[in-house]
Symmetry: C2
Subunit: 337 residues, 2 copies
């Protein structure tokens, strides 16, 4: 390629192949059957190859009025959970000729007033997880097709929602611990107001209350091991009989609870049973391995993308909740005497 040259356009390809720009567009767009002869088509393809032609996406997007690109907004990438969601969404997207752009919703990155400053890409739609209401309404104002993940079906301004059946997950936790004989519980909750965590708290309380003589305390911490450690330590230091089981909203919180237990000289599961949610790699790295609710992140992403495709095509997306599964490991056992 000549130095100082700019990127070749379809017109350059046309000139080299000795045809019109329109012919190039037809051939490279795959719509040339019955319009351009096979020999000419091959000459065009050869010219494109020779010049290293790549279509200008900005021009294509402008012309077509769509980008076949969607945005996936996630709250954080500090665990592998949302990596799985992305993988699932990207797979389904690719099958339909779409691309997925990932946007870790910033606390500190990007101006709050414009959630898309960091995603200048022109978009066809948005899949949003754990999104603050004001950002949500900004998107709605943009008239962008929107699917919400793990969000209140009634509070989403009419946007489609795709949810994990997390209420059933905490039902399974509650019944598992009750069956083991536990009666005094502590709920280590994520200190974030959000539909999914509210639902976890409500479901846990409801199902524990179905057994007689149960007590349920509660404390909350930001989702980090250190914060969970201090929150658990002070909760366990409170007067009165100690809980025999701690139900955590998240595996990271559970890891913090492990550290608190160690620091207080409590053995798991003999003195204290602990459960989490997510089934991260971390869950089998700690000792004993963690009993936790496994979430199928990839399926979650797939369903999110399928729902968005449905919206884009004017169909009504499926609304059934995604099942979750309790994985029993070494961190839960009958309470000591």
């Amino acid at each position: 390629m000549a130095p100082g040259s700019t990127r070749p356009t379809s017109r350059d390809v046309a000139q080299v192949a000795g045809v019109s720009q329109a012919a190039v567009s037809l051939v490279l767009g795959g719509k040339w059957r019955g319009r351009v002869s096979e020999t000419t088509a091959e000459r065009v393809r050869e010219a494109a190859r020779e010049l290293g032609y790549r279509p200008n996406l900005a021009a294509r997007n402008l012309r077509l009025g769509r980008t076949r690109t969607v945005l996936l907004v996630v709250p954080a990438l500090t665990t592998e959970f949302f990596a799985g969601v992305y993988t699932g969404a990207a797979r389904v997207a690719a099958e339909h000729g779409f691309g997925v752009v990932l946007y870790p919703s910033p606390e500190g990155v990007g101006p709050a007033k414009d959630p898309f400053h960091s995603a200048q890409a022109a978009l066809d739609g948005v899949i949003a997880s754990s999104m603050a209401p004001e950002a949500l309404s900004a998107i709605r104002g943009d008239q962008l097709p929107l699917v919400m993940l793990d969000s209140d079906p009634r509070g989403s301004l009419g946007a489609a929602t795709v949810n994990l059946d997390i209420a059933d997950g905490l039902r399974q936790v509650a019944e598992h611990l009750l069956a083991l004989g536990h009666r005094r519980f502590l709920h280590l909750a994520a200190g974030i107001p959000s539909w999914t965590f509210d639902t976890r708290a409500r479901s846990l309380a409801t199902h524990l209350a179905q057994a007689p003589g149960t007590s349920l305390g509660s404390t909350r911490a930001p989702i980090s091991i250190e914060d969970a450690l201090t929150a658990t330590e002070s909760a366990l230091a409170a007067p009165g009989p100690r809980p025999t089981a701690i139900v955590c909203d998240d595996d990271l919180l559970a890891a913090g609870a492990y550290k608190a237990a160690r620091r207080l000289g409590l053995r798991i599961p003999d003195d204290l049973s602990i459960t989490g949610v997510d089934d991260l790699a971390l869950a089998t790295a700690i000792d004993p391995e963690l009993t936790t609710v496994r979430l199928d992140a990839e399926l979650f992403g797939e369903r999110g993308m399928q729902a968005l495709l449905a919206v884009l095509e004017g169909r009504t997306p499926a609304q059934d909740a995604i099942p979750v599964e309790l994985v029993v490991r070494g961190s839960t056992a009958p309470p000591g005497p």
Copy 2:
């Protein structure tokens, strides 16, 4: 907004404000000083607000010939390391009016022949981490400005590189363990051919060889806890004297080594010292806490973005390596008798 209406354009805004489309572009683009009166400008802004006008990015990108968007290619999002890289890169980018699009380099997602199928966004440049050579040359062929992270400065086809001083990190590990009195070592290496892992192996071997009477075995595993567990278990089952210290390329591998040690009844650090690299949250979640090489992921991302901005502006990016720091915790101690 009327039903069935399409998105408002700058022309619509112009009509409502009673001015020409050019005036709208000037006002909203902030280049109206001395060209449009303040009263008219305010009328334009008011009209834009009223219509909910958002500029069409595809059109803007086409017109300007640039997108102010760069792609960050990462190998995986299964740990928080690359989340930190993104955060740093996005912060620097935002300061310069750029956006960053994240692309988890697929194994399974997206066709290999086009690494950008999933990132249809038009791009101004690329920051790539751990990229396969063929994908690299595809980008180079596109004439896209490119910065490579943690890549061989001599093998990057002239692309700029930004590297962690990981050789120095492994030097610190070697000297720490030698000072504690260890002489028999096992290197648990990541089973991935890549500059950063090759460098780790070479640096470790070099610095251990400086003490007399040392031995260094080696085994490799994909970066996952389970794979590390099995690899370590069979390495430790080999005949001959057991190593007293295992140096792992990564904290996840170290977590697998922990499990192997537990399974074999070896106590850490009394029977076996273990070190990692990364300083993930996992490092302080396991018991005992892991001695590891802390990498400043955010700084890494910042430096990568700064280098790319330099390339985009025709400057020569800085080339100094980013320092790393050994964090000594409970997983290393003098070898038992």
